[in-house]
């Protein structure tokens, strides 16, 4: 989108007779700003809440800040060196990728099915559509804390339920070790991502004109064929938006992991976001360096995805 200033009235009507030149030039100066005075508050706001923090972040990553919070001057690239020498960084990055890919992939798959379901006409559709909003409307932190307690070893209802159903012999400490904590946290992340994604896809489905389906029916296409060759391709824009927004959201997801395991034991259930937060406890500069890396990662991630999916092909 380009912001072209509309032709300024001062330019066309400049130099009206009998006026001293100075006020005219001042007026036309203001007018030359076009819509700027109107969008200035927004621009200032963006500068203040988006650009300035990013600048500060990058600046901090080159500073040596002591654990008591005092700025001890420049650290050069020491904090980045320290970050890349962290023993746990490799595992954290690998888990970040697994976490993001698994959660986004499963969310998209389940949402495709759900959207298809909610696109059908059935009694009670309005109510079920409303119900789907619930996980979205509830605070993510609340949902995560809820699951944490349901999974609690001694008091959790999910432990009791699974024992009653005979799935497990005794109560398990699900969130205490990474091998069981990851799947549960992924399940919660998918649970909270479903509503948005399903609604995005549902909106996409509703833009597909009925005539296309009618034509394919007349041509004798089967259900699966219709889905693969008509629904999916026409759903592409909505699907891509869903994937990109989920990628960013899930990669940056913090409250679920923090509420359920605090990224522990050690860094075993930390994504790079949680890792960054935990570094803050010992070294703010190193933590800022991790943030910069995170920022770069998410940009690269989205760019790669857009490239692979040939984002602009249909435009």
């Amino acid at each position: 989108m380009s912001l072209k200033a509309p032709p300024s009235p001062a330019e066309t009507g400049g130099g009206r007779g009998g006026r001293a030149p100075r006020p005219v030039s001042r007026r036309s100066g203001l007018a030359r700003l076009g819509p700027l005075p109107w969008i200035a508050p927004v621009i200032l706001l963006i500068l203040f809440v988006v650009v300035w923090p990013v600048v500060e972040l990058v600046r901090t990553s080159f500073l040596n800040i002591s654990i008591s919070g005092k700025n001890r001057g420049s650290a050069g690239t020491d904090k980045y060196k320290k970050l890349f020498e962290e023993t746990d960084l490799g595992a954290v990055l690998i888990w970040t990728v697994i976490w993001t890919v698994v959660v986004v992939a499963l969310t998209m798959l389940i949402s495709l099915a759900l959207a298809q379901l909610f696109n059908q006409k059935f009694p009670g559709r309005t109510i079920t559509r409303w119900a789907l909003i619930a996980p979205w409307a509830a605070s993510v932190l609340m949902t995560a804390i809820g699951f944490k307690w349901m999974l609690n070893q001694t008091a959790g209802v999910l432990n009791t339920l699974m024992m009653d159903l005979g799935f497990i012999d005794g109560p398990q400490d699900w969130l205490g070790k990474s091998s069981t904590a990851w799947p549960w946290m992924m399940a919660v992340a998918i649970f909270v991502s479903l509503p948005f994604t399903t609604y995005t896809l549902l909106a996409g489905l509703q833009t597909i004109p009925g005539e296309v389906y009618e034509a394919s029916r007349i041509d004798g296409a089967g259900t699966w064929q219709t889905y693969r060759h008509i629904t999916l391709p026409m759903l592409r824009p909505a699907f891509l938006i869903g994937v990109v927004i989920n990628l960013i959201n899930v990669f940056n997801s913090f409250p679920i992991i923090w509420a359920m395991t605090q990224g522990g034991p050690g860094y075993d259930t930390s994504t790079s976001m949680v890792f960054m937060y935990k570094l803050k406890e010992t070294d703010i500069g190193e933590s800022a360096a991790m943030s910069v890396v995170n920022f770069a990662l998410v940009v690269v991630l989205v760019l790669i995805f857009l490239k692979v999916s040939r984002w602009n092909e249909e435009d």
Binding site: L30, L33, S68, D173, G176, G264, P265, K278, E281
Partner: protein
């Protein structure tokens, strides 16, 4: 017409910006005027576990009494819970908005940044002479006192009498082997859900770790003051814990993600057979109607002669807004026998001044704290007066617990590396 609208809009915007800028200036100006002033800002940690025993009323009362006794002075009290106090103070320091007096867990990191007054500058000789000797020493960095001890606690071994009777254990364990043996019996007889509670989660990993390592002649530093986190004794300690408690299922399945508060709560609920704890367990266990006994912490071959002592600290900031004399007045006023006994009694802690300590021990109400007081003179502390300790302690909290599940050598080697780097950074 249109031009006027634009001009008005722009002018309004400029005015709005100008006004807010004025607001900012005003605040800054006010603060500068107060430099050397009579308003004392006190930030303290909240030791309470509920509204009933919160620390805020204590500080409010001290502040009110002080204001009444010293006309013209004002005290602003901010009490922050333990989870947030470090972060909040860090932000205060980073933004240059430091308190005058801070009461929290450690002080040495702030000495490294030259933020604190020397104790002699802000405490009269009479008050500082009253500080218990060992603690006064621990408040010194390279021979100069910066930290003023506030309260202390020692750790001891707790066991559930009923569970021991059910399991047929007659002798309270004094060695590691006896602990493992008792734990096995507790499990076989189903006398306790958690035979030995080993909380190595982030809350206080450094405490439980040190209590076990001391039992094997290990610890965080050697006599020369060098970090020895990965010493053979320490590695051996964790090997033993893995083989004898963790793997046989005689403790929590994931010690590294189990916090101390969980262990204490489980003990108070009668689910734990034995554990190491501090004096607050007494009150919790009594409320939970758990019959318990206390003993010296078992070591590898003999019980610990000197147990772990933990002290909390008060410090005064040079860049606070109040004058040095005001700070001195307030500290002298706060460090009285009555105040310290009152605060320590609220949480079953031990006061750290000579007269308060004597007064508290003389009170028959505190008979159950006898063992804790007796252990205090010989107690061993974290290296709190090392300016790198705060970083090291934070690192141990994050990953130290994994030494009980992963390869201990790898985990401790990594921590040792970080500790050495931290020590180098403050030199």
């Amino acid at each position: 017409m249109r031009n006027r609208v634009i001009a008005t809009g722009a002018a309004t915007l400029v005015m709005a910006l100008g006004l807010s800028a004025c607001g900012g200036d005003g605040d800054g100006g006010g603060g500068d005027d107060a430099k050397g002033g009579k308003t004392i800002k006190v930030v303290a940690a909240d030791y309470g576990t509920s509204a009933a025993d919160a620390s805020k009323p204590f500080w409010d009362k001290v502040a009110k009494d002080f204001e009444a006794a010293n006309k013209g002075y004002k005290v602003e009290v901010q009490v922050i819970n333990w989870t947030d106090i470090d972060k909040t103070v860090k932000t205060m320091i980073a933004s240059g908005n430091v308190p005058d007096i801070l009461q929290t867990g450690g002080y040495a990191d702030k000495v490294a940044d030259d933020l604190l007054y020397k104790v002699d500058d802000v405490m009269s000789p009479k008050t500082s002479a009253n500080l218990s000797k060992g603690f006064a020493e621990a408040g010194k960095v390279k021979g100069t006192a910066y930290g003023m001890p506030w309260v202390a606690s020692t750790r001891t071994f707790f066991y559930n009498k009923k569970a021991f009777a059910t399991a047929g254990i007659t002798k309270v364990p004094t060695t590691w082997a006896e602990v493992a043996d008792a734990a096995k019996k507790l499990k076989e007889k189903k006398a306790a859900e958690i035979p030995y509670a080993l909380p190595l989660g982030p809350e206080e990993t450094q405490g439980e770790t040190l209590m076990w390592e001391m039992g094997n002649g290990g610890g965080y530093k050697d006599d020369a003051g060098k970090y020895t986190i990965n010493s053979p004794q320490n590695v051996e300690t964790f090997k033993w814990l893995q083989d004898n408690l963790v793997k046989p299922g005689l403790t929590y399945p994931n010690p590294a993600s189990t916090d101390r508060k969980t262990a204490f709560a489980d003990f108070a609920a009668g689910k734990v057979g034995m554990m190491n704890g501090h004096p607050s367990v007494i009150k919790m266990a009594e409320e939970g109607k758990v019959e318990f006994g206390m003993a010296k912490i078992p070591g590898k071959t003999a019980p610990l002669e000197s147990t772990l002592g933990v002290g909390d600290w008060t410090m005064a900031f040079q860049d606070g807004k109040a004058g040095k004399d005001a700070v001195k007045k307030f500290l002298d006023f706060t460090y009285t026998k009555d105040n310290l006994v009152k605060f320590a009694s609220m949480y079953n802690f031990m006061p750290v001044t000579t007269d308060a300590s004597e007064a508290m021990q003389a009170d028959p109400k505190n008979a159950k704290l006898k063992d804790f007081f007796a252990a205090l003179p010989t107690a061993k502390f974290y290296p709190v007066n090392d300016t790198s300790w705060d970083v090291v302690s934070a690192e141990i909290k994050k990953t130290g617990g994994k030494a009980a599940s992963d390869d201990p050598k790898t985990v401790l080697d990594d921590l040792q590396k970080k500790a050495e780097e931290a020590a180098k950074a403050v030199k």
